[in-house]
Amino acid sequence: MTHLPTVMTVPVPQGLRPRCCEATCRVVSNTPVNGEYRLLTLEAPAEILDCQPGQFFQLLCPAPLGEQPFLRRPMSIYGYDKAAGRLEFLYKVTGAGTRGLATLDRGDAFNVLGPLGQGFSMPDDWQNLMLVARGVGLATLAPLARMAQEKGRKMTAICSARRPELAMSVDLFESYGAEVIVVHDQDGSSTPEALRPLIKARIEAGQVDAFYTCGSSRLLRLLQELGAHHDISGEIAMEQQMACGLGMCQACVRSFRVGDRIIQRRVCREGPVFPISEAM
């Protein structure tokens, strides 16, 4: 019988600690959160729990009936707690990989690789934070909100969704001390046109030092426009199809505008968090 959780050990030189590990975790629970999302909670070894908000894991998803997801699936971290040995992912069932995740039951062994990539930064002069995210992008910002509370930062979280009941993590953001504004498609409050004056008013009131965003290219463009006009920096967590997740295969590149040049960066290695001003 295998004792879980375990880290796959391979020879390492003395003194070298691997920056990420392939580990077998045990499923604690895997439950629906609302109509569209599920929360996967894992018992994880301490070696993989020195995470930063914005980092991700590569999940080796079990095969659902009739399908075989072959490559690992990148998934941003929803929650981590080294003292409690817990690691959480919030996901929406959309393809073979996440259909496989949905089959996991309490007690199952589950192989993950991570933590991977560069997380969000939070310089000292970013005291008033505005988090703007949509859909499952809200999950990516959840650990960031917790870090902001620990650092004593003020937060406004704009949570965008198709319908108000699908806006995720509202209670969680509030528990981290954020002022939460839910916007959605049903009343039109989630459009860039509706959001622009709302965000602009807060900028002009001196309530925004930095933006964080995830999950919507329309929101990205809005924040780029407002950021450029009002000289406000920020960071975005981005996605791309991946194979290795470590930087070896060069599959997950995206284009970025740096000065007057367009360059390519690997989302898994240089990202997934990038400056909002450089994202395309």
């Binding site: 796959m8 391979v10 020879p11 390492v12 030189p13 070298l16 691997p18 920056r19 990420c20 590990c21 392939e22 080796l60 075989q68 997801p69 072959f70 490559l71 690992r72 192989n111 690789l113 791309q240 199809q241 991946m242 194979a243 290795c244 470590l246 930087g247 070896m248 295969c249 060069q250 599959a251 997950c252 590149v253 995206r254 390519q264 290695r269």
Partner: protein
């Protein structure tokens, strides 16, 4: 249990002696893997293919997954020869595992020129990726045909004194003839093989699932093809053959060695499990100790005739 003798995992690939037969396949390995394990446990280091100039690579999506495998069309993004010489070579010089540099080009002249340029101190062998399109042959890979294989390997041989490995393509219909042409032109070893040309379509939007439309298939699904071709080539030539294609378990490694491979390359398995190569080495060693196999010489090319007509 038998006496746990020390198993000797060393293998010879021409003039090179490797500490063990496990090495990465080009394109699936970089310094980034040093985040996961000590890269000096590997038999050799094989770098991603370098081309002379800088190249951006293919449009995304560059990968998609399949049942028991994947397709890729990365497109050899390359930072060019200067970056290799000034930045990469000093980094890899810090390891004891021999460094194998993969090179490619779209014409004979460009290929030969690059071969001379990478023949530097610190490089243990050159792997010629002759599985990429040759613009002088209507875009067909050099290794599709014996004559173009012979020509390109001859031109490379003239430019380097380093061990020269030719990486063949499984897309040819004449693997033994191509292998013999590479040997006759002076290759020191063959790498058999590369990815199998394939395609996948998303029926929801009727688009190809790769930005480049077609791509190279790899992973366990192609293992029987690569094993068959390794066996054919090992029988066709006297130079060592390095097996490559879908190898992901200890028993896969043993199959290739038994079929005649002197060593193996591991690629897609590393994407599923980045510790795969390190584990294969320890699993191979344990197997040899359990089986009382002192040296891999006892295994390599030890394939028997089929037991025809007998059910066991």
């Amino acid at each position: 249990m038998k006496d746990m003798q020390n198993a000797d995992l060393r293998v010879r690939v021409g003039a090179l002696t490797l500490d063990n037969p496990i090495m990465p396949a080009s394109g699936t390995f970089s310094e980034d893997l040093a985040d996961v394990f000590d890269l000096d446990v590997l038999g050799a280091h094989v770098l991603k293919t370098i081309m002379h100039g800088t190249r951006a690579g293919n449009p995304t999506p560059r990968v998609c997954d399949l049942q028991s495998g994947m397709l890729n069309a990365i497109g050899i993004p390359s930072k060019g020869i200067d970056y290799f010489r000034d930045e990469m070579l000093p980094y890899w010089a810090g390891f004891k595992a021999p460094l194998v540099v993969s090179i490619s080009a779209h014409s004979y002249d460009e290929f030969a020129h690059l071969c001379a340029e990478v023949s530097l101190d610190g490089v243990a062998a050159i792997e010629a990726n002759i599985s990429c399109p040759n613009i002088e042959a209507n875009g067909n890979a050099f290794a599709m045909r014996p004559d173009t294989t012979h020509e390109v390997v001859t031109r490379l041989r003239a430019k380097t004194d380093l061990p020269l490995w030719a990486k063949l393509t499984p897309n040819t219909g004449e693997p033994a003839e191509v292998a013999r042409a590479a040997e006759a032109a002076g290759a020191d070893a063959l790498v058999v093989a590369n990815t199998v040309l394939g395609m996948s379509v998303d029926i929801a939007n009727r688009r190809p699932r790769l930005g480049n439309v077609m791509g190279g298939m790899s992973g366990p699904a192609i293992k029987p093809i690569a094993l068959r071709m390794t066996y054919q080539c090992a029988n066709a030539v006297d130079i060592p053959v390095i097996g490559c294609g879908g190898i992901s378990t200890r028993d896969d490694v043993l199959e290739f060695l038994i079929a005649g491979a002197a060593a193996v390359q591991i690629g897609t398995a590393t994407f599923q499990s980045p510790t795969a190569m390190a584990r294969l080495i320890t699993e191979l060693e344990s197997w040899m100790q359990e089986q009382g196999v002192a040296s891999l010489d006892e295994i390599i090319g030890s394939i028997e005739a089929p037991n025809a007509g007998v059910f066991e």
